[in-house]
């Protein structure tokens, strides 16, 4: 196939994934269905790997597809599917403007890359997804979209709304997206490194730090198709060098380092003598005895590292990374732990908590399981319609650094929504049906009368019961015609509507989180209500 065609296909596919993910993250109204986000995140390597612990072979299909793709076509993933790859290409292109490209050949840092990749995957065995999420290129891109691009696009959107409304329209401004200083700083530091590397050395990140690159480069060495430089055609004019994003073409020795090549196909049409092509291995002649100088010593070291030993070592590391994920239980079943009621109404004042553990979103199953699978990519944060999902810092401890948690001061979990778990790329939030999600008990509400308006001011309130979607919080006659809330624990799903809407501060009703999510009972099990029986047509 002609180089320009391959390049166009690459650009089309990479645009689809890059722009598609941008639209999904930045869309202020969640106009697109969740399935669209699922298509874009399905082949992302680390999420696909983490999904394997799910239901059988189907869950492993994305991972196997990427492995197969790489074994066939080398690292096309890195130039087409990975959004961070496309980002780096854009940065490199912008940085190159007005300057002569000076990408020389470079042996790369294969040892560094191998060590980092192995450490990251091995750490996943012990520490869950923490380091894996930090360096997963999809998650890096996601955090960039969520914490840098989305606030910016929201400000732009709201400025437009303001101007249009001043001219007579009646559009609604979008709320500012979830944001936190620690997450922003971490994202900024990561993006600074990636951007600096891309501006100066093209795909240096992909070949030195990225664990996906580290895994795929091992497979790429055995790929069916690869970029090949024909020694007999090469005049060392270095035109191909200048197009190479990965500095992996060695014109002097007429070789292309397939393990570092990101298959962007920019080089194919650059050779005036058609010396570079994307060929299957059977069309590549075995190297003839050459009159040129023997390979440099560094090359031999590089070859050794690409040996069978490192292939098995890295593969073993990758699979053991999935082990804690296989070993985890699903979400817990059973009735909500009945919170003992204090004497009289609700809980005694003394047991009001100074602080509470973090609450994982529905679909997580348990906090532990969630921390082990979430890469903090920020996609669920960007999709949540109420803003209850907020980035944590150390709320979960180090094992859940930067991962999302439910913040009932920011919002509450919308009863008729399961967007977060529909889009989660790693199945840290399992895509259970909405009817099932409505029965997941994240925690149980507790009422503290010493803080309640009704108890203190002797005026009516009932905001908590008003917002409770399962009527777990009911208003019961208290005195003087006033009613106060009572929580029925088995009906409570811990959605936080009561806590969020309680007009006092500190809140008189709060959700105590479960470490392992439970299941609430069916809220609609009462018989149908009776209409008032009337003898006359009207009671007045």
């Amino acid at each position: 196939m002609r180089g320009s065609y391959l390049r166009m296909i690459r650009i089309a596919v990479s645009s689809f994934f890059f722009l598609g993910l941008l639209v999904v993250f930045l869309d202020p109204v969640q106009f697109l269905p969740a399935a669209f986000a699922d298509v874009l995140t399905w082949p992302q390597f680390i999420p696909a790997l983490l999904r394997i612990s799910g239901a059988g072979l189907l869950a492993a299909s994305a991972f196997l597809a990427v492995v197969l793709l790489t074994l066939l076509f080398a690292r096309v993933y890195c130039s087409s599917i990975c959004p961070l790859g496309t980002y780096q290409d854009i940065v490199a292109r912008m940085a190159r403007r007005g300057r002569r490209p000076h990408h020389k050949e470079h042996p790369g840092f294969p040892r560094t890359h191998f060590v980092i990749t192995a450490l990251v995957f091995l750490s996943a065995v012990v520490l869950g997804t923490t380091a894996l999420g930090w360096l997963d290129p999809y998650s890096i891109f996601g955090r960039f979209a969520a914490f840098a691009l989305k606030p910016l696009s929201t400000v732009l959107h709201n400025s437009g709304v303001f101007l249009l409304n001043a001219a007579g329209a009646r559009f609604a401004a979008a709320p500012m997206p979830p944001w936190a200083v620690p997450s922003f700083l971490f994202m900024a530091a990561t993006m600074a490194v990636v951007t600096a590397m891309a501006a100066t050395r093209g795909r240096l990140f992909c070949n030195t730090i990225c664990p996906v690159g580290g895994a795929l480069r091992i497979l790429a060495r055995f790929s069916v198709f690869r970029i090949h430089l024909d020694p007999s055609a090469c005049t060392a004019c270095t035109r191909c060098h200048r197009t190479c994003k990965a500095q992996c073409i060695d014109a002097r020795n007429h070789s292309v380092d397939t393990s570092r090549c990101v298959a962007c196909f920019n080089c194919l049409d650059s050779c005036p003598r058609n010396g570079i092509a994307f060929l299957p291995f059977w069309k590549i002649p075995s190297p003839a005895p050459s009159s040129k100088a023997p390979p440099q010593p560094e090359k031999r070291v590089e070859t050794r590292l690409g040996s069978r030993r490192s292939f098995f070592a890295t593969t073993a590391a990758m699979f053991t990374a999935s082990l804690p994920v296989f070993a985890q239980q699903g979400r817990g079943q059973g009735r909500g732990a009945g919170q003992g009621r204090g004497q009289g109404w609700g809980q005694p004042a003394e047991s009001y908590p100074a602080s509470l553990p973090p609450l994982a979103p529905p679909g997580a199953g348990s906090t532990q399981r969630f921390n082990d699978r979430c890469t903090a990519c920020g996609l669920c944060l960007s999709q949540c319609p109420t803003g209850v999902l907020q980035p944590a810092f150390l709320n979960y401890g180090l094992s859940g650094l930067f991962q999302p948690h439910m913040d009932f001061h920011a919002g509450s979990c919308a009863y008729e929504c399961n967007r977060c778990l529909e889009v989660c790329p790693t199945s840290a939030l399992q895509p259970i049906p909405l009817a099932e999600k409505k029965r997941v008990q994240l925690g149980i509400a507790e009422f503290y009368k010493h803080l309640c308006i009704v108890h203190e001011e002797h005026t009516a309130c009932g905001a908590c019961a008003e917002h409770c979607p399962t009527a777990a919080v009911k208003m019961i006659p208290w005195r003087n015609g006033l009613t106060m809330p009572v929580v029925e624990p088995d009906l409570c799903i811990g959605c936080g509507a009561c806590e969020h809407t309680c007009p006092t501060s500190p809140r008189a009703i709060i959700v105590r989180p479960h470490q392992m999510h439970q299941t609430a009972i069916d809220p609609a099990s009462e018989p149908a209500v009776q209409a008032p029986a009337a003898e006359e047509d009207f009671p007045f």
Partner: protein, 308 residues
């Protein structure tokens, strides 16, 4: 007050909060004369929502009694919840559609529909069926969940609620039609015409914090709706104002229409088998001069469309 003037005032008072000014005190608008030939309250039962309304409004003198040519109308239903029509958490969309049609036939220039929803507003607007009904009828649905659309007003007659941030359309519109659905309510006992007006203010939590029943009664002293239409076609009688399932609802096929917001709420309270003394905001509103709870003092037209 014109829209641009409102926005300029809002911009000028950005720090202090936009103010709509006392000139907008609209306690009495289009109040019918005392010797009006029309009944004070109409109660209809035994039909579909559109049929109930057709009969009810014609008994009251037709929509042209309330809407003149070229006027701006706000139809304020319950749209608080992301729930389908059969849940009766929101006003029946067929009723909203019929009301808009009547307004446009009477010559209204524009009919707006909105609510400051509790659930995510796009889903509530859509799943309640009211967005589609409004569009079909030729009305315009506007968002109510953007604080930028709200401005401050003073409520001098209020005993607890002395000021509020209200949606600009409530200040701007010529005609306000209040269209709640008939519900019980955990905190306020019933959610009817007066409670429905809570959906035009920004800070609802303030009312809960500062004597809910008094605030519910205070607000209409600033502006009484021109007409109250209580949708009792399908009523939410248990676990209101949201309800848990359709088992909390009952199809009553009733409607109450009145310019007297207190009388309308009184009648609708009795329809739920509750007593006036159980609902403090009724007597608070009566004491503020907003209307009467003594239904026997009123001319009431009772209509039964069909017995079944």
């Amino acid at each position: 007050m014109k829209r641009r003037q409102f926005v300029r005032q809002s911009l000028a008072c950005l720090l202090a909060g936009p103010a709509l000014g006392n000139s907008l005190l609209k306690a009495e608008s289009k109040a019918p004369a005392e010797d009006s030939p029309f009944p004070d309250l109409v109660a209809v039962k035994g039909g579909q929502p559109a049929a109930l309304f057709d009969r009810g409004i014609s008994t009251l003198g037709g929509m042209s009694r309330f809407v003149s040519k070229g006027q701006t109308v706000v139809v304020k239903p319950n749209i608080g919840w992301d729930a389908p029509p059969e849940q009766a958490a929101n006003t029946n969309p067929a009723l909203v559609r019929r009301i808009i049609e009547h307004c446009l036939e009477a010559g209204a220039r524009r009919v707006y529909v909105f609510d400051h929803t509790c659930d995510p507003w796009r889903k509530a607007y859509r799943n309640s069926g009211i967005q589609e009904a409004t569009r079909d009828a030729g009305g315009k649905m506007v968002p109510g969940n953007d604080s930028g659309h709200y401005g401050k007003i003073d409520i001098p007659k209020g005993r607890s609620l002395k000021s509020a941030e209200i949606h600009e359309l409530i200040a701007e519109c010529d005609v306000l039609l209040n269209v709640p659905v008939l519900k019980n309510h955990g905190g306020a006992v019933v959610s009817l015409a007066m409670k429905n007006l809570m959906g035009v203010v920004w800070d609802r939590g303030w009312w809960h914090r500062n004597d809910l029943h008094q605030c519910i009664a205070d607000f209409p002293t600033w502006r009484k709706p021109d007409l109250n239409i209580i949708d009792g076609y399908r009523a939410l009688l248990r676990n209101g104002p949201q309800g848990v399932s359709v088992k909390d609802t009952a199809v009553l096929r009733q409607m109450v229409l009145s310019t007297d917001i207190v009388a309308a709420d009184t009648a609708a309270t009795l329809l739920q088998d509750k007593k006036v003394r159980e609902v403090p905001f009724l007597s608070h509103a009566r004491d503020l001069g907003l209307g009467t709870t003594r239904l026997r003092d009123l001319r009431i037209e009772r209509i039964v469309l069909s017995k079944s």
